[in-house]
Symmetry: D2
Subunit: 460 residues, 4 copies
């Protein structure tokens, strides 16, 4: 979609009467929805709706959509009968002969549904305690249930993480893994964008069709800051928009019956540490949780370095929580299928629900955002002898802060102003971390302007 500047694309005006959760509302609910959508929520709604209406578009650039459809608008109208969504100057690509494509209409309804739920049910004065760990978990549960993605049924949901701009070799590999998972009746959940978020779904659709499965789920979990930059890929048939990044991560972990990590940027490394930080807690010791790192043969070094780093920092014991499989999609799927059986047996044995992992312990610290200030960075404690899960948590934060100091506008500015972060830690841990970061730069997984210079110094 290389469009010369100043050119706009064909648009359509339309009125939609949404179904699935928005079709049986009370007058009062419709009014609150209308008010929310015309008030503070409106710009958010407009942005998310446009992302959905350009789903499947090949462009990577979120601004493109907003520039190509500058006059797009969306209004939620009240009717006795229920909700009506008015679209103005909407992308014609979402329509066939004037009719909105059914799947797009579903995604659009999902956007309205989730933003409204967040604004109304999770907003101020809703009576929920969103500062406690249980309260946050309850909110995550409520939103997912309202989105109708919590369904009884045997554990078969695998979350796939990985980069959105991986190379072709890696993309094809994610497709093959998805194909092998799909052949074994496994449904896919990802962050809903391109790259490693699309490949596994694409592979699974082919396998599901071959296996004549009827009700397959391709769940995309996103959040407002991400969806606008990454349109849901056209395979997603259940879209959920969580209120923020932390709730999105918790939704992944509580819905997943297993997680597969493909190669990705540094963000992916962070996610690995996030999950390990949870799994290594004593509270979660007995909990089966299949966790596989995998990629094509060429990506072996990526995982080797991560593996080395984890062993050095968290100790050999940490390796009991993940498996690394390189270049063997069928083996990945076989191991995951076995893991799902163990999860099923465990849930039955402990009478935990199949659709939401209540048992896994996620502490409040993981549910709250980490803001990498100099104070916060100085408070990290990267020494040997700590409990592995605590070290994992602090490593993730260190990681997050270093990335910020190198590539994020905010972080770079802070480092320029106050000097490098001071991190308290053992020398060998800090060297391993440094080596890992340099490798990412070499593998072009981390975009650095100019040479890589550490933005921190070790205080021992």
């Amino acid at each position: 979609m290389d469009v010369p500047s100043g050119i706009t694309l064909p648009t359509v005006d339309a009125r939609i009467y949404p179904r699935g959760g928005l079709d049986i509302l009370s007058r009062n609910e419709v009014a609150r929805l209308r008010d929310a959508s015309s008030g503070g929520m409106h710009e958010l709604l407009r942005r998310c709706a446009l992302a959905v209406l350009t789903s499947g578009s090949t462009s990577d650039d979120p601004r493109a959509a907003r520039e190509l459809y500058p006059d797009f608008d969306i209004q939620v109208q009240q009717q006795d009968r229920g909700v009506r969504i008015d679209l103005v100057k909407a992308p014609a690509m979402a329509f066939v002969d004037g009719e909105l494509i059914h799947g797009v209409a579903e995604l659009l309804a999902a956007v309205v549904r989730d933003l409204a739920y967040t604004a109304i049910e999770l907003g101020d004065n809703c009576g929920r305690d969103l500062d406690s760990s249980d309260g946050i978990t309850d909110a995550v549960f409520s939103l997912l249930r309202n989105a109708r993605v919590l369904q009884p049924g045997d554990p078969n949901l695998v979350v796939c993480w990985g980069g959105h701009s991986i190379n072709r070799d890696e993309y094809l590999y994610t497709k093959q893994v998805g194909y092998e998972l799909g052949l074994r009746g496994i449904d896919i959940c990802t962050g809903c964008g391109p790259g490693a978020m699309k490949g596994p779904m694409k592979g699974a659709t082919i396998a599901h069709a071959k296996q004549r499965r009827r009700r397959m789920r391709y769940i995309g979990i996103t959040e407002p800051g991400i969806i606008a930059a990454e349109s849901p890929n056209p395979i997603v048939n259940h879209l959920v928009i969580m209120p923020d990044i932390e709730k999105r991560l918790e939704a992944f972990v509580r819905m997943a019956h297993g997680i597969i990590v493909f190669p990705g940027g540094v963000g992916t490394a962070e996610e690995i540490l996030y999950l390990l930080g949870i799994l290594l807690r004593e509270e979660n010791a007995g909990l089966p949780f299949p966790f596989i790192l995998t990629g094509p043969t060429a990506s072996a070094p990526y995982f080797e370095q991560i593996d080395q780093f984890l062993r050095l920092t968290l100790g050999e014991a940490a390796t009991s929580r993940y498996e690394i499989v390189v270049g063997d999609p069928a083996e990945v799927a076989r191991r995951m299928a076995k893991g799902l059986k163990r999860v099923r047996e465990h849930r039955i044995g402990h009478r935990d629900s199949f659709f939401f992992n209540w048992s896994i312990d996620i502490p409040l610290a993981f549910q709250q955002p980490f803001v990498p200030s100099h104070e916060a960075m100085a408070a990290l404690d990267l020494h040997h002898g700590r409990k592995p899960h605590e070290l994992a948590a602090d490593l993730r934060r260190a990681f997050s802060g270093i990335v910020a100091g190198n590539v994020k506008e905010d972080g770079i500015r802070r480092v320029e102003e106050f000097g490098p972060f001071e991190i308290h830690g053992d020398v060998d841990i800090m060297q391993a971390l440094d080596a890992l970061l340099r490798a990412f730069v070499q593998q072009h997984r981390m975009k650095i302007a100019g040479d890589y210079r550490p933005c921190y110094r070790v205080v021992t």
Copy 2:
């Protein structure tokens, strides 16, 4: 079920894992449900559950069930996985080879679901305004939606009212009307007990089977004071327990696409006046609402007298709101089918929902109970010249009070203590009312000990 005193019937202990609305709850919701069911709600739950577990039993006497199963108990237990219902000494008739019959399990889950919703979502501190008309309507809506009886789909729900102890001739007639309705694809909603509440459902099942319908609805709407006295008949496949009589009446009126009234006791005459009191309001003038009074040929006098009474009191105009058909089930069904078409067109034209009649105006006075004290009776104003709907409302109240004064323990006592009610009204209206009551006594539709003596005197 004529059981000698002192004899108990076979019982079963069982654990039930309910589905349909109770299967995807949060830990918190399960805990609140458990607390509510073991606290103040427990005796209510026990009584309603027992009614459902003896559904289909032929006995009319609610005490029978409680006497036959004196040790019956029910506990709602919390599990990570969701809700478990423990039954102790439950009637064996609800089980097959130790397994609870599926339909009974559904009704049992409905009992827990609705009592819990009332206790938790409509209870104190729920943030709802249950003193305003809109607030009450919203509560009615919420409970019905939570019970999953509000479904999109063409208007085809006919509410049938009438006595629970009608004669065999009249019962067979209600069955025939149900059969003719069923042949035309109409679903049935009643008060869920025996007599005129069972006949139309029974007739409809035969017709639905003949027409090879798959998803038919036999909705029973009851309330805690009634269900314990009248077990849901075994045909009911959707059971709703509203919190009180007034919300039950509103649920009938807002869900109905049409209402048929069969012969019944004086209570039925009261219901006719209740509905007319609503339909004759100017706010509801343009609203189509099929309303048919019908019975076998032998019941013609019943309807003739009601008709005469309505004409005399409310004027000829009132007759535009109802039709009387005697001895012609097919004609009843044909007229109702035509009426449903008009309702459908009207809802589409006014963009009102198919599943809930938001447009019909029900004033607060109809949503609140009428307690027939001497003051309240003296405040009635039964003179010509009032607006028909106001007169209808007061007539209903007068009726209610007179019935109380004649047959209800409370009312009889009050009349004995304070003398007859004083009612302000025109003589001809009061004479008509009196004549109607005497006719009911003659037709054995009103049980009087000894001769009938009016419990009121007219003040002109």
Copy 3:
């Protein structure tokens, strides 16, 4: 339906476009169907169609229908698109507002389908060998498959036999047994008329609704000589018209996963001997086949006499093939459910199909009609020492002949002309047979004009 003579009932003319097996025919097939239905098959078709169109009518008398609708006619028309059925002066009771009731339309299509299949696929020159045992079985299979009643799925089809004019006590008992079978997920197959053919289906519908079963089968298997006399009861949702009585019996035995016999006329006793004659064959020794005789407590004598007779004639060993349960519907259902499990295991073990009992051996003699001439009766061999199954077969024939000699026009005439049948047999066997017949007369199960006089004499 007591209609004064000379009165005709309202009729409807209609055009039906049938579905389900008649909707995808070739031009050629449609032409052959039209020819067959306007040729020799026409009167048969007219008679059967009328029976179906008056299904649910309360009259027992087949002539009534033909007299009440004397001008009824049916024509099968050819259209490129498929088949059209024209009905002339058809009973209005089969229609709702001019539309044929769906279920009746299905039964009507079944009539056309089966008569056409018999006329075209099993008629002369069809290339089948209808004189061999295998050929007849193949014809039975083909017709049943064409009627789409052979479906994969766990064994759950119980055939119920018994009289069509049983007393009210017995009828209610058949309903209760049907209810208990239905609670256990069992489908019912009967001869499709009233009495013991309707009761079990009626009871099962209530139980199936309670258990929320969706796809239940109420299969009626009839034949042209019977259907005209006995309209299918309105519960039947799969109707099959076999070409003759013997193929109908074979259809019952090969489709049944178990058989229950209720009290009935002498015909029922004959059926018991028919089934025992098959089950006692050595070829069928290892074959599980649940076979239960049952009735209300009051019918105990009926089964006692049959039991005694069977022990005396066939020996104690014969009793291993049947069970007698009196006055305990739940026990009947429990035993049948257990029996079905054994059938399932046996079929799996022997890789026999679930939907057609290929393994059971039915010899040619049972597939061909027995015509009770004096020669045939004299050829019977009712002596001790024969193999039980052979004796059972000859007893059945003796039975059939004696009944004919006593009550059937043809038989009575023959006996009047040629004197009593001469039957070769041991005295005790003949006495037992005689005692059984006298008991039936006493119990009003066999209609005799005047006193009962044996129509045979024993030759020893």
Copy 4:
């Protein structure tokens, strides 16, 4: 799949119990099926089964499969219960963890089903007249019905023709057309191989998923000589194997509600003439039959030349039967959708079936193969003044013969032996035909060794 010679791939032995048409067979049918499959049909069965088991393999070369799996065998076994298919040394790629992929199992059952039907029901002594036009049509109908691809339902089946080795630009275009068809609820039928047979299906799957369609049909119609060379593409979910090329063509034309032709080799041009030869018959004058030639912009010359040729030879009137759309997939779909509406109305008006075009007249000459001998070529009559449909038919034959004379071994040999074909025709017609052929050579759509030399001479 570039495999060094001498290397074999992993294989699996398996036993399959097929469903869908093979699950309810009589003992006799199973025996005949077993005999046919172990007799003359065995090698055919083996070849077709292998094609299906390697479905989705990327190799184009049919011999590859046979060389890679040299020991593959298939046996159809008899069981009381039904059919068992034994696979020996079957390609492991068709299995997941030892289980045959469901979709592949369905295709395999289709192979057995259709070959058996052809061998048994259409074989010698089946009583059919396969020499008459009606008899052949009836056989085509019977086989398609037996394959369960004839279903009631609105006309929405579009047949796509075109080359199997088109260029990437053209392939992407076929995908886009399939996508636009799928968005409009249209199902796809093709010859089931790669290229223009796969592209439209692939595009349609994406659109069907987006429109949330549940029961979509991707029908592949092939014949034994073709399937072995071209494995069904993995999207095909209904496979039909017609007995020969002519019946395959008739199946396309009678099932199609419309036909789209993409660029292809000379074979495609022949197919266009085949269809025009039918559509231009007077008997088919009033019959709507949407027929669109389309390709990407770059393929415009291809269609221009065909168009010119058709105008010159068959006259301007012929152009009324087809449309040419270049470079506009959405427009193709819109026109086709409109055409389908006309087809629907016509079928209803003429009461023709939706699922089989009985009305279209296909003369015997089109149902029989044309063998291009010198005599047959000399008998062609390519002069102006003939009826267009007759000229179209002879042109198709001339075409077929010329292609044979140029590229087919048989034809080349004949021309070398007996000299060029002598064709009687007008000079301008022959020149146009010659020009068309030269253009194909230039566009690399016809493989010629060396320079193109006409293999015929015109006799005027």
